[in-house]
């Protein structure tokens, strides 16, 4: 495996990084940001949408701050897992990502912006040539989607990153910077359903950090991850359920988010509100789990068949909710 040649830029400040990006944009040069590189570089080795320029964020110091309410995009996943200041569930989820070696390199920003995956897509160039390419990387052929043929309008590759659901449930705000402007938005609004673009980032923009609201410590909950092996594997399904407890012990607020099921993570506010209305303990959890199962529409492009993943969403939701039923 060899990466196609590219020019590597190593800015030492955020400003420099953004001006580099601006310059490249102006000269119509395509580029990628690289943080930990644990996902981008394997994709480059497979010649998946590789660009002629890569801007490394490794030397940008502004992006590594970590506190209870601020998580820099360049915080390494293992540092997040080991952190005593972040919400314990964020640390736990981070510790469930891939393997320790990947976590030591991989970053929060990289995990949030992880490219979507599909077994028709994450293959070598020769392999993809043998299926005459696919929609997500068509190499100029206008190739069809291989998962759902004859729908050349949307890529259905699967978003398989772990951090997003729990951060969405904690009410995280994501902060972006670009050559011309900076902007912020709730993490739930960051993602846009499309397996190729997947989020609102425009060319030249990057994620600088996430902030969490001040009430973050009041949220409790769990994240459940479905995978074949307890290391390395991407989530085949992931469910985060978080809640705030009212004075009587029943939940006063409830949020549910999923990953590994569609091209972007799912934030299931309607289902959570429905369950919270007339909260009834176990039966409410069952209803919630069933509602979340119905809400997700996985396709056949990962290790497990979609029917199984969908059924497991119900089980995972129940398990992630088990703390709700403890008195």
């Amino acid at each position: 495996m060899r990466m196609p040649p590219f020019e590597l830029h190593t800015p030492s400040s955020l400003d420099e990084a953004l001006s580099l990006a601006g310059d490249l944009q102006q000269s119509n040069q395509e580029f990628d940001w690289v943080a930990g590189g644990t996902d981008l570089l394997p994709n480059y080795k497979w010649h998946l949408n590789a660009k002629p320029h890569v801007i490394s964020l490794a030397g940008v110091p502004e992006l590594s701050e970590l506190s209870e309410t601020h998580i820099g995009a360049m915080v390494r996943l293992q540092d997040l897992a080991d952190s005593e200041v972040v919400h314990p569930l964020v640390a736990k989820v981070s510790s469930m990502v891939a393997s320790v070696m990947i976590r030591r390199s991989g970053t929060v920003g990289g995990n949030i912006c992880l490219d979507t995956r599909c077994f028709w897509f994450n293959q070598s160039e020769e392999w993809r040539e043998s299926i005459e390419w696919c929609y997500k990387c068509d190499c100029g052929t206008g190739a069809d989607c291989r998962v759902i043929p004859n729908q050349n309008t949307q890529c259905v590759a699967t978003y398989q990153a772990d951090l997003a659901p729990v951060l969405m449930c904690l009410g995280a705000t994501i902060h972006l910077a670009g050559p011309s402007q900076s902007r912020s938005m709730p993490l739930t609004e960051f993602f846009e359903l499309d397996g190729i673009t997947r989020n609102v980032l425009t060319p030249g923009e990057l994620v600088t950090h996430l902030t969490l609201p001040d009430d973050v410590s009041e949220w409790r909950g769990d994240y459940q991850k479905l995978r074949q092996r307890e290391s390395w594997d991407f989530p085949e399904a992931g469910v985060a359920v978080l809640w705030k407890s009212g004075p009587d012990g029943s939940p006063s607020d409830l949020r549910v988010a999923t990953t590994g099921l569609e091209s972007i993570p799912g934030f299931h506010s309607a289902e959570a509100i429905a369950a919270l209305t007339g909260w009834n303990g176990g039966p409410s959890v069952d209803e919630l789990a069933e509602a979340v199962r119905k809400a997700v529409k996985p396709v056949l492009n990962t290790w497990y068949p979609p029917s199984y993943r969908r059924k497991m969403v119900k089980v995972l939701t129940k398990r992630a909710s088990s703390g709700l039923l403890e008195v």
Binding site: Q123, S124, W127, Q228, R229, S231, Y304, Y308
Partner: protein, 918 residues
């Protein structure tokens, strides 16, 4: 020097004339000491062994770190990809994009013109056919006319660097005519307009059947008639890849003297040596195959490979060394892994709890080439005719070509899948008979020194001890059918050849299976030349141990030269679990020759009668008066007086064995290993996820020459087998593409999935094995699959017939059971056992057989015992000679062909030469 002052009695050295005589090589003790009998490995076990007299207590039977371990852990071992030669070029291969196509034209002009490209080769550069088995040579270095799977070789390029080579591959233009591909192995049984290969007059109809086997032994008619319970299952086994660490890598160098050296991590240098001569059309003596360190083989590096030919062809064209390294994906294209299989398994038990019949129908998916498939087709049947005594054996097997990467030999070659089906069937029979499954097995074992229904000569059998020890160690009697729901325990057994009885390329009586040369010069170190391929399994170490043991030397005085075919005797390499048995035997006989010379020299030096002399740690001395003796070096130098270096050659060949029916040679071996494992699992009833908690693994390896590596082999086998049972699977997408040719999506278990393994070594002391040893490399893999499947049944009451048991499959079966019983998963109950009257009958028989077996194991000349005695026949005569209902047949009857089973339907075709075609 003080050493000279108190020199021992006997031959006197001339001081200063023998610079090698110093502590270390000569032995540090100046006086002989009586041998510590406790340090001498106890191999006497069952009534003595032919090698007892040459045991010195110096090396064998002790946990020994592998002698090449330091090379590996310090990074100094040179694997295929580490070889760097001056001026080398990088080769890359142009591969097929289509499953099946005719290659109409190949335009290499653009590639050739690319700066940095030195040569491009296509099928026209070498048209010679090759294949690992002489009867099924169906491979070429590169496509001759057709490509047969995605990834098949079309052309190759050599360039000054890798990037250029890869670019050149892109520039090769291939024009194809697509042909209709066969993906489903069942389709391979049917006639095809364009069979994947044409075997001329030997072609079977117009089908893609590459090999078919029909075998009937025993009371076929009575099989169902005598049965009170039967087990019927139809298994689907996914293909598995070896998943070795080191992808294939090869360097070919046509050197200035006109000889070719091929550096390759090969399990069988000799086969690639032969194939190179065929393909390159040069004599074998002009080729030196240099085996590098091998980063794992497991059967996946035992074929001669087309990329090895390509490197040699490119080197010949360019006059420069050419290196080809594989990406992991290419490893999956070349594959040779476990066959995807559809196995129908019926077992029948009679009212006395005897196995009155095994009916196996195995359709195996060979992919695009024959590889070892001829043998695999037999092994899927014949390797489950033991350890149980059976009333009938009916086997139909077929291997078909499909447009997939070729299947081949993989650890437990051909035996793994059907063994899993047999052992799960045994569990089901026990369930139906309401008896304990271990007791059922113990009451049906063949005794030591017996013949199976197919006529395999079985010598030592440690099966009973394996079963008894895992039963005890695992706490079986307190756990089986008694663990909480979702938690279960299961048993599985294994039986495997310890070295294939037939050499592939020659008659067993025309040339030895293994030859080992020894040379000892003045320094006293022993150089061992052997062609046994060290592939990480400890081959070099076990041969060094064997030589050290016989000569009474420390291990660091033995140096193994096993790398090059120029210096090593012809050897069949590392497959079929043959190295310890065959090469250690050859090494022992070579060492015994030198031992005799040393004893004679010592006798001359000490005036002691030779029969009174013994060899201890670097000393030879009178057993009854240890003060009288000479050091090893003194004896050596005395022996060298007239001829310089001592050299010897030892060889091993198998004794005549087996019967004479067609295919009788497949499965015969000079000895067989046995194993029994108990696995404890927890199944998540809601998700179907299976977690293996602990495995008790008893393996009969005859005698553990190196207990450390035997345990390593058991644990490694468990890991590999767990992969196949839990998660490893070559998945093919809807258009026939292999969708997971990488190690993220080909799910080899990680350390998290690995349970605690309790290895239990059972030593049955094989009368023909080296110091009593048998194999431990492949057999230990077999039992883990059924043990886990049976444990899953104990846990949740579902009987799997599809591997791997990924959570989605288990979940589907749990759902089906819930639906059937009208309950939710959490209310499912696990199975129960209430012993029937038969349990006592079986216990009594097992106990009776235990004493029978103990007697036979120690009897120096046991009487013949043929399969069938359990059914009332005279054990000394094959049952088919006593009762005409006991048949021996290797061709299907017209009755059978009226409703053949799946693989059996391969016999509906007529071989062309019998159909009037030529």
């Amino acid at each position: 020097m003080s050493e000279d002052k108190d020199r021992v009695e006997g031959y006197r050295q001339q001081s200063g004339k023998l610079p090698f005589s110093r502590p270390g090589s000569g032995g540090s003790r100046k006086m002989s000491e009586p041998r510590d009998e406790d340090k001498i490995a106890n191999i006497r076990g069952n009534g003595g062994h032919k090698h007892d007299d040459v045991v010195t207590g110096s090396a064998v039977g002790r946990p020994t770190a592998l002698i090449d371990g330091r090379w590996k852990v310090t990074g100094q071992a040179q694997y295929g990809d580490d070889v760097r030669l001056p001026g080398e070029l990088v080769g890359r291969i142009v591969r097929s994009k289509h499953h099946y196509a005719r290659v109409l034209s190949i335009d290499v002009s653009a590639a050739t013109e690319l700066p940095g490209v030195v040569a491009v080769a296509t099928g026209q550069d070498a048209s010679g056919r090759f294949g690992v088995l002489p009867v099924t040579k169906d491979e070429h270095a590169m496509a001759q006319e057709k490509v047969r799977h995605v990834g098949d070789l079309i052309a190759c390029v050599a360039a000054t660097d890798e990037a250029t080579a890869r670019e050149a591959v892109r520039l090769v233009e291939v024009e194809y005519e697509e042909l209709e591909a066969v993906h489903d192995m069942r389709q391979g049984l049917e006639n095809s307009e364009e069979p994947i290969h044409d075997r001329g007059k030997y072609h079977i109809g117009a089908s893609n059947v590459q090999k078919r086997v029909f075998q009937e032994f025993g009371d076929i008619e009575g099989m169902s008639a005598n049965a009170v319970v039967s087990h019927n299952s139809n298994w689907l086994f996914a293909g598995a890849n070896h998943g070795f660490t080191e992808p294939h890598a090869v360097v070919a160098n046509w050197d200035p003297s006109g000889r070719l050296t091929l550096y390759t991590p090969q399990q069988v240098p000799h086969y690639v040596h032969r194939a190179l001569a065929d393909v390159l059309d040069i004599p074998m003596h002009q080729i030196n195959v240099h085996r590098t360190f091998v980063g794992g083989g497991f059967g996946g590096k035992s074929d001669p490979f087309p990329h090895e030919m390509c490197a040699a062809i490119l080197s010949r064209k360019t006059g420069r060394p050419v290196r080809i390294n594989f990406d992991r994906e290419e490893v999956f294209w070349v594959n040779r892994g476990r066959h995807p299989s559809r196995i129908g398994m019926n077992l029948h038990a009679d009212s006395k709890g005897r196995l009155c019949g095994i009916e196996t129908d195995a359709l195996i998916d060979g992919g695009a080439f024959a590889s070892f498939g001829h043998v695999t087709t037999y092994y899927n049947g014949v390797l489950h005719t033991a350890p149980y005594e059976i009333g009938a054996f009916h086997y139909t097997g077929a291997r078909v070509w499909t447009n997939k990467p070729a299947s081949g030999a993989m650890r437990g070659h051909g035996a793994v899948n059907s063994r899993c089906a047999v052992e799960v069937g045994m569990d089901d029979l026990a369930e139906q008979l309401n008896v304990d499954p271990i007791t059922l097995r113990l009451a049906n074992l063949l005794p030591p020194h017996s013949a199976t229904i197919t006529g395999f000569r079985v010598t030592s059998i440690g099966m009973r001890e394996c079963l008894e020890r895992v039963r005890q160690a695992s706490g079986w009697d307190d756990k089986f059918r008694k663990l909480p729901d979702g938690h279960g325990i299961g048993i599985g057994c294994g039986f495997f050849i310890s070295g294939s009885g037939l050499p592939i390329h020659w008659e067993p009586n025309k040339f030895p299976h293994a030859t080992v040369h020894l040379k000892i010069d003045m320094d006293g170190g022993v150089t061992v030349h052997t062609g046994a391929a060290e592939i990480g399994q400890g081959s070099d170490t076990v041969i060094a141990q064997s030589v050290a043991e016989v000569l009474g030397l420390p291990l660091d005085m033995i140096r193994i030269r096993s790398r090059e075919t120029d210096t090593s005797p012809v050897d069949l390499g590392s497959y079929s679990s043959r190295v310890t048995f065959m090469n250690a035997n050859a090494a022992i006989s070579a060492a015994m020759e030198i031992r005799q010379e040393l004893l004679e020299a010592a006798a001359a030096a000490t005036d002691a009668p030779i029969e009174r002399l013994v060899i201890g740690d670097r000393r030879i001395y009178r057993k009854d008066d240890p003060a009288v003796g000479v050091s090893y070096l003194e004896a050596l130098h005395k022996a060298q007086e007239d001829k310089g270096a001592l050299v010897s050659s030892g060889a091993y060949r198998t004794p005549p064995m087996g019967r004479v029916h067609k295919g009788a040679g497949a499965g015969i071996a000079p000895a067989y290993s046995f194993s029994a494992y108990v696995a404890e699992v927890k199944v998540d009833i809601e998700t179907g996820q299976t977690k293996v908690l602990k495995v008790w693994a008893a393996h009969d390896c005859g005698k553990a020459l190196n207990p450390l590596s035997v345990k390593g082999q058991i644990i490694g086998s468990c890991h590999m087998g767990l992969g196949q049972v839990l998660s490893e699977e070559m998945k093919y997408g809807r258009n026939g593409h292999l969708i997971n040719p990488d190690l993220l999506d080909y799910k080899i278990p990680t350390i998290h999935e690995m349970p605690e393994i309790v290895p239990i070594i059972v030593e049955s002391n094989d009368s023909e094995g080296p110091f009593g040893a048998k194999e431990a490399g492949e057999g230990p893999l077999l039992p883990i699959l059924p043990a886990v499947c049976n444990a899953v049944y104990d846990a949740v009451g579902i009987r799997t017939s599809e591997l791997p048991i990924t959570p989605d499959r288990v979940h589907r079966m749990i759902e089906a059971r819930c639906k059937h019983e009208g309950v939710t998963p959490l209310d499912l109950s696990s199975p129960e056992l209430h012993h029937s009257e038969l349990q006592e009958v079986l216990e009594a028989r097992a106990s009776e057989h235990a004493s029978r077996d103990a007697m036979r194991a120690t009897d120096p000349d046991p009487s013949d015992y043929n399969n069938g005695a359990l059914f009332g026949f005279d054990p000394e005569i094959p049952a088919d000679e006593q009762d005409e209902r006991w048949v021996v047949s290797v061709t299907p009857s017209s009755d059978y062909m009226e409703s053949p089973r799946l693989a059996g339907s391969a016999w509906k075709h007529t071989e062309r030469r019998h159909g009037g075609d030529s």
